[in-house]
């Protein structure tokens, strides 16, 4: 406790607070730009932290991380473009809300959810780090395979309407994920003799292409902006915030569930924030009284997605600080900083250098609180820009930012071409009802499933029946059952309805004849 207080005082300095404020603001804008991810934001900041004290450096990194993950929500809601992969699920309901003139409500909900998520993540980290960390290492290759399959069953709920088209999208995504050097084995696949394709199709490149370009094309085709100009706020911004606050805290089940999901997935190494928000969204929908309203502007979808991905920021520090396992890509950079300052992950971090570690953790809590003023002000600003700019200026500007962002990601023109190609194909796929979300989900999870499966098979090379290794321990059996259950709950209602209707309809039809 003393340590915690000491840590608190160590960050409650003008320098500390200004660092957090600047970090959150910078992170927010970087996160809002498609192509500039949290990982890159941290990488750019890295050299500057060398000149700072270890604590100040970590505070800056934590604040930028928190801001960037939250910033992704802005573009997700306002122009249907996830600024970071972790805000994919925010687009599902955020953008429809914005189209209905409720953009500010969506932004307010996202902000409040992010703040609460961030603080809950920090609380988990402070109180439960050691026991949660033990959970992190039980996820071996076989478990990861099942986690990925479980994730793939989300395709069912992401494919609004036709399950078949959703599955088709998922398969396209998995196929795209195989381009390049295979994660295990190192063979080059589908590169058609082009060395640049060895790098494969970067997730974010596909994300930008599949989400932004089709949206831009349809905006241009219809001669409209991203948002209706009549989007006047009912009763002003203040009341939108109050209303959302009442909605969120009035029925906190959704928020609590999303935060717990966010924390659990954050500690699974390799799954990370890209998956958390999708799973939380899916569960929010599954448990909702009115699942059909999801995808059409239900604010609960935004809340689930944004709270869970901000829990992930501090949540993924659990395996990082205790075991040195980076849960999400940006964590690798924070690990580098810790090592550089001679801080080895482990229990020492919480005892010997406890003041520093707790200061870092607490600063992330402050960073999430700072999201509220910074986010609401920044949100108003960006919202006004998007609404007020005529579409013939807005469209080319978004297109340009998109192309620059894609290029900057890996300094690659190839990526820009891939992005434009996927975008054009994505537009036509969307016209025939194949959405971007299942494709992206397939890309994310295809790789995880492949790695898990191949690694399991390799470890089982001495077993008489290698694939039994997939069911070799209790956790993988539980996960396999969850996969079966999830498939069943998706297919059964439709099947029952059909067979039920057949039973009812058939006699009816026979009567007149």
């Amino acid at each position: 406790m003393d340590m915690l207080l000491e840590a608190l005082f160590s960050i409650l300095t003008l320098k500390g607070l200004v660092t957090i404020l600047c970090g959150v603001t910078a992170g927010l804008f970087i996160g809002a730009l498609p192509g500039l991810t949290a990982t890159m934001a941290l990488a750019v900041l890295l050299p500057f932290t060398f000149t700072m004290s270890p604590l100040q450096g970590l505070i800056a990194l934590g604040a930028v991380y928190m801001g960037a993950i939250y910033g992704g929500a802005f573009t997700a809601i306002l122009i249907n473009t996830p600024g970071t992969p972790s805000s994919i699920a925010t687009t599902f309901d955020g953008y429809p809300m914005a189209r209905q003139g409720r953009a500010y409500e969506a932004l307010a909900a996202a902000t409040i959810a992010s703040v609460v998520g961030g603080i809950i993540g920090v609380t988990f980290l402070l109180l439960l780090a050691p026991p949660l960390a033990r959970l992190a290492v039980v996820f071996g290759p076989a478990e990861m395979f099942w986690v990925a399959l479980l994730g793939l069953t989300l395709v069912a709920s992401l494919s609004s309407g036709s399950l078949l088209k959703g599955l088709l999208g998922g398969c396209i995504g998995m196929l795209l994920s195989t381009v390049g050097v295979s994660p295990i084995g190192g063979e080059t696949r589908f590169i058609f003799g082009i060395p640049a394709l060895q790098g494969g199709i970067e997730l974010i490149v596909a994300l930008i292409g599949l989400f932004v370009i089709p949206e831009l094309i349809s905006m241009a085709a219809q001669g409209r902006g991203a948002l209706p100009e009549s989007g006047k706020l009912q009763g002003g911004a203040g009341s939108a915030i109050m209303r959302m606050g009442r909605h969120i805290f009035g029925k906190p089940v959704n928020l609590i569930r999303s935060c717990i999901i966010g924390q659990l997935i954050a500690i699974i190494p390799g799954a990370g924030g890209n998956v958390t928000s999708l799973v939380a969204y899916n569960e929010a929908r599954r448990f909702s009284k009115d699942p059909s309203s999801f995808g059409k502007g239900n604010v609960d979808g935004v809340i689930a997605s944004e709270s869970s991905n901000n829990v992930m920021v501090a949540g993924s520090m659990v395996p990082l600080l205790t075991l040195g396992i980076p849960g999400a890509p940006p964590d690798a950079i924070i690990l580098g900083v810790l090592l550089m300052h001679g801080l080895r992950p482990g229990l020492d971090l919480f005892t010997e250098t406890g003041v520093l570690t707790n200061g870092f953790i607490l600063s992330m809590g402050f960073a999430s609180m700072f999201l509220l003023p910074v986010g609401l002000l920044g949100g108003r600003l960006i919202h006004r820009v998007v609404v007020k700019t005529p579409f013939y200026f807005l469209l080319p500007s978004i297109a340009m930012v998109t192309i620059l962002g894609t290029y900057a990601l890996r300094n690659s023109m190839t990526d820009v071409f891939i992005m434009l190609l996927l975008g054009s194909v994505g537009y036509f796929l969307r016209l025939i009802g194949i959405q971007a979300a299942p494709i992206v989900l397939g890309m994310i999870l295809g790789v995880i499933a492949e790695k898990g499966y191949v690694q399991t098979m390799l470890t089982a090379v001495v077993d008489p029946v290698p694939w039994l290794r997939l069911f070799a321990n209790p956790l993988s059996i539980v996960l396999a059952c969850l996969v079966a259950l999830s498939v069943a709950t998706t297919l059964l209602p439709g099947w029952l309805e059909r067979s039920g209707r057949m039973a009812k309809v058939d006699p009816d039809e026979e009567k007149p004849s």
Binding site: G180, P195, Q198, P319, P329, V462
Partner: protein, 319 residues
């Protein structure tokens, strides 16, 4: 925002360099230098470049812009560099062994060649280390080898990548000790601590750095360096234990072929000086600082090619 600016400055530099073919090199360097890392930010190569950046800037008196061109385990950046970079001394790229040896052998379309540039220096190595969980039944390397002899393929060794430094290290151990183990590739060093602490593999073949990092919850059986690693003074080398395995990753920097010698020398000196300054920070992490230049570079590459070629060719034939 800073990011975009840096990149624009980078490309401006490039344009400036291209636009002035007749510039005299007497005063090199007089413009910012682009230092490309063909890997994602956050890895060992990137972290090292970030360490070097301020010192290089101070020594050379110009800006050094680190940027990333990841993909294909480095191959995307390297092929682009060999095809496009100008020999002006204002473009350099990080190079790694064994990647630049293994990829052109294993892939038909890697897009670059092992020798088609001028390697300025290899500034450090990270020797392979064999690490087992703390509660492992293997107390020493001999015990592991003995067990592997009696139970072919039953010992599973994780590592970073396929035909990478780690994989080649494991393959050399198999040859040297005449055993048959199962190598499980993971993507990068990140997932390895979990693999070892969760007991998903019997051990891992990774770099000395991870051995240092995991001192508390793992046991390092041996390191693949000529002499003991300063940060792990109690860990024997494979050589001490009777296995002739020296290897790991060598990291360095290359400029395009045809870059004037004076420029290469200037860069060599700058990197050597930088190395001295950052050694104090890097050595405790498990890096082994080196200053391999000129003829020695070819020697190292030749030596490792001889060691790896038969292993790689055999693996390729089996694919």
């Amino acid at each position: 925002m800073t990011l975009a600016t840096t990149r624009w400055v980078g490309s401006l530099t490039l344009m400036a360099a291209l636009g002035m073919p007749g510039v005299a090199f007497a005063e090199y360097p007089e413009q910012p230098i682009t230092y490309t890392i063909p890997f994602d930010p956050g890895g060992e190569s990137d972290v090292t470049a970030r360490f070097q950046e301020p010192h290089l800037e101070e020594i050379l008196g110009v800006d050094v812009n680190v940027n990333h061109r990841p993909g294909g385990g480095g191959a995307v950046g390297w092929s682009e560099f060999q095809n496009n970079a100008e020999p002006t001394g204002y473009e350099m790229i990080g190079v790694n062994i064994p990647h630049i040896i293994a990829q052109p052998i294993m892939r038909e379309d890697a897009g670059y060649e092992t020798d088609n540039w001028k390697i300025v220096t290899f500034f450090h190595t990270t020797p392979n280390a064999l690490i087992v969980p703390k509660d492992s039944q293997f107390e020493t390397l001999d015990e592991l080898v003995q067990y592997a002899k009696e139970n072919p393929q039953a010992v599973t060794l994780g590592g970073s990548g396929t035909f990478s430094a780690n994989h080649l290290g494991a393959l050399r151990l198999e040859r040297e000790a005449d055993i048959d183990v199962t190598y499980i590739p993971f993507t990068g060093t990140g997932p390895l601590p979990a693999a070892i602490q969760g007991g998903h593999v019997s051990g891992i073949f990774n770099y000395s750095m991870l051995g240092v990092q995991m001192q508390d919850n793992a046991r390092v059986l041996a390191v693949a360096s000529e002499e003991r690693v300063p940060a792990l003074p109690d860990v024997p080398t494979f050589k001490e234990l009777g296995y002739d395995i020296v290897g790991g990753a060598y990291r360095g920097v290359a400029v395009p072929k045809g870059t004037p010698d004076e420029i290469v020398n200037t860069l060599e000196e700058a990197f050597a000086e930088t190395n001295e300054r950052i050694a104090e920070k890097q050595e405790p992490l498990g890096f082994v600082m080196t200053d391999i230049t000129d003829g020695e570079v070819d020697e190292v590459i030749q030596q490792l090619k001889t060691a790896y070629q038969p292993i790689l060719e055999e693996a390729k034939a089996n694919q």
